[in-house]
């Protein structure tokens, strides 16, 4: 069995460290926030201008002035701060965000990422994704290893329009955890029921098998 969506998020939560300032791509936030290790304090950044936002509000307590980057209503925590979009992206571009976790349609052997143009649909624009991948200290992609039709998403070279060039450091999928390194893609963890060969078959670039390869524990 591969990881389900919840387990991918749980595995991604293991990347958090005490004191991190973290930006979570649209769709990931609420899921991941439920899996912060006990006793660890991390601060979530929302690029529309919030550091330290909290959970969804209780019904009836929604505030139109308090939304996250996915335009969902959220809440304030003790220690929250607000700022304008320039300062917000200054935090990103200036390398102050420790970790960005985003989804992707394709990632390639050089760590380039394509995640803003959906084939066959109108180009809606990158929002903050290009800034995040260019600026965050560490960029981790979480995604399904292959498309619904079984097409590979980890490629020699992305064929969709790029969001950023050589920016991704780690890929977490339902099959595996793969690091992007100067010598190539290194398979560091795998789903328990899959073999390294299974994962290689679903991955276009040649994988380097880490000597410390282990099963993903979530």
């Amino acid at each position: 069995m591969c990881l389900d969506r919840q387990e991918i998020v749980k595995r991604a939560a293991q990347e958090l460290r005490e004191g991190y300032y973290v930006n979570l791509g649209i769709g990931i936030p609420t899921l991941l926030a439920n899996h912060i290790p006990k006793g660890m304090e991390v601060v979530f950044h929302s690029e529309n201008g919030i550091l330290g936002y909290g959970a969804f509000p209780f019904e009836g307590e929604e505030d139109a002035d308090l939304i996250n980057a996915g335009k969902q209503t959220v809440t304030e925590l003790a220690g929250t701060s607000y700022f304008d979009s320039s300062l917000s992206f200054g935090m990103i571009r200036g390398g102050h965000i420790d970790l960005a976790i985003l989804g992707a349609m394709q990632v390639d052997a050089c760590g380039s990422i394509a995640n803003y143009v959906i084939p066959g649909k109108m180009v809606k624009g990158p929002g903050g994704a290009m800034d995040l991948v260019a600026g965050a200290k560490r960029v981790i992609v979480t995604m399904e290893h292959v498309t619904k039709n079984g097409e590979k998403k980890i490629l020699e070279k992305c064929n969709l329009p790029l969001t950023g060039v050589g920016v991704v450091t780690r890929i977490i999928t339902d099959y595996a955890v793969i690091d992007v390194t100067p010598i190539g893609l290194v398979l560091v963890e795998k789903a328990a029921d899959l073999t390294a060969e299974d994962i290689q078959r679903a991955t276009e670039p040649q994988l380097i098998i880490s000597p410390q390869l282990r099963d993903i524990a979530v």
């Binding site: 529309n48 002035d65 939304i67 209503t73 990158p126 929002g127 329009p161």
Partner: protein, 233 residues
């Protein structure tokens, strides 16, 4: 006596003519100048270039100006939530320039503070950097981006005084202070007008020097795009 307060949104936008460039604050539907947008629909200037992070939804925010075909060109970072937008874009009626969100914000800030252009690593090697000058600083490849200024800034703040000193509320700040700085004429729609001296000077977000007209919004719908809640324990 300095008094930037005008009586109505209609009066505030009375000199916005065909063909001007508008810088409009807001992120999604959060912190948009909804009363000024309604007044623009009523006044009806055409061929507008609008710089705004998004373009509203079909029946609210900047989407209203699309429905009336008043917008010629949008400069935005994400324009996904709008069927009219897609239709007009595909038919060639509407032109769109997409920018990364942080680049858009910084272009507005630069426009407001007298910096004509800047280099940024964002979008290097992507389609959005095509045709733009690139260089390398300290081993980092970067793209030259030009500042944006506009004829009018239409923004939304929470509280103002008659000098145009502004305070925003929560995440409704977003692009508003940046648009304010980059507009030749900045029109601020606010929820509350207070007496001069009542705003704590330490807490003013946009000093009145950037603001030319203040109007108290007649009605605020403050629509929520994604109403997400959690159950009470």
């Amino acid at each position: 006596m300095i008094n930037k307060v005008v009586a109505s949104a209609a009066e505030a936008v009375a000199d916005i003519a065909d063909g001007v460039t508008l810088l409009v604050g807001g992120f999604g539907l959060c912190g948009i100048p909804e009363n000024l947008i309604h007044a623009l629909v009523d006044k009806g200037p055409m061929n507008l270039t609008v710089v705004a992070n998004n373009c509203g939804v079909d029946d609210f925010g900047l989407g209203l100006l699309l429905a009336t075909r008043q917008i010629k060109k949008m400069v935005s970072s994400y324009v996904g939530e709008n069927k009219i937008f897609e239709k007009q874009l595909l038919s060639g009626e509407l032109e769109v320039e997409l920018n990364p969100q942080g680049t858009l914000a910084e272009r507005l800030r630069a426009g407001g503070v007298g910096v004509p252009a800047f280099y940024t690593p964002t979008a290097y090697g992507t389609q959005l950097a095509e045709g733009k000058e690139t260089r390398e600083f300290n081993g980092r490849r970067v793209v030259l981006e030009c500042a944006i200024t506009g004829d009018f800034a239409l923004i939304k703040a929470f509280r103002a005084d008659r000098h145009g000193n502004l305070i925003y509320r929560k995440a409704a700040r977003n692009f508003n202070p940046l648009c304010a700085m980059a507009g030749k004429v900045c029109i601020a729609e606010v929820e509350q007008l207070v007496e001069i001296g009542e705003l704590d000077p330490d807490l003013v977000h946009t000093p009145g020097i950037f603001v030319h007209r203040v109007v108290v919004g007649e009605r605020f719908e403050k629509r929520i795009e994604q109403r997400t809640t959690r159950p009470r324990a």
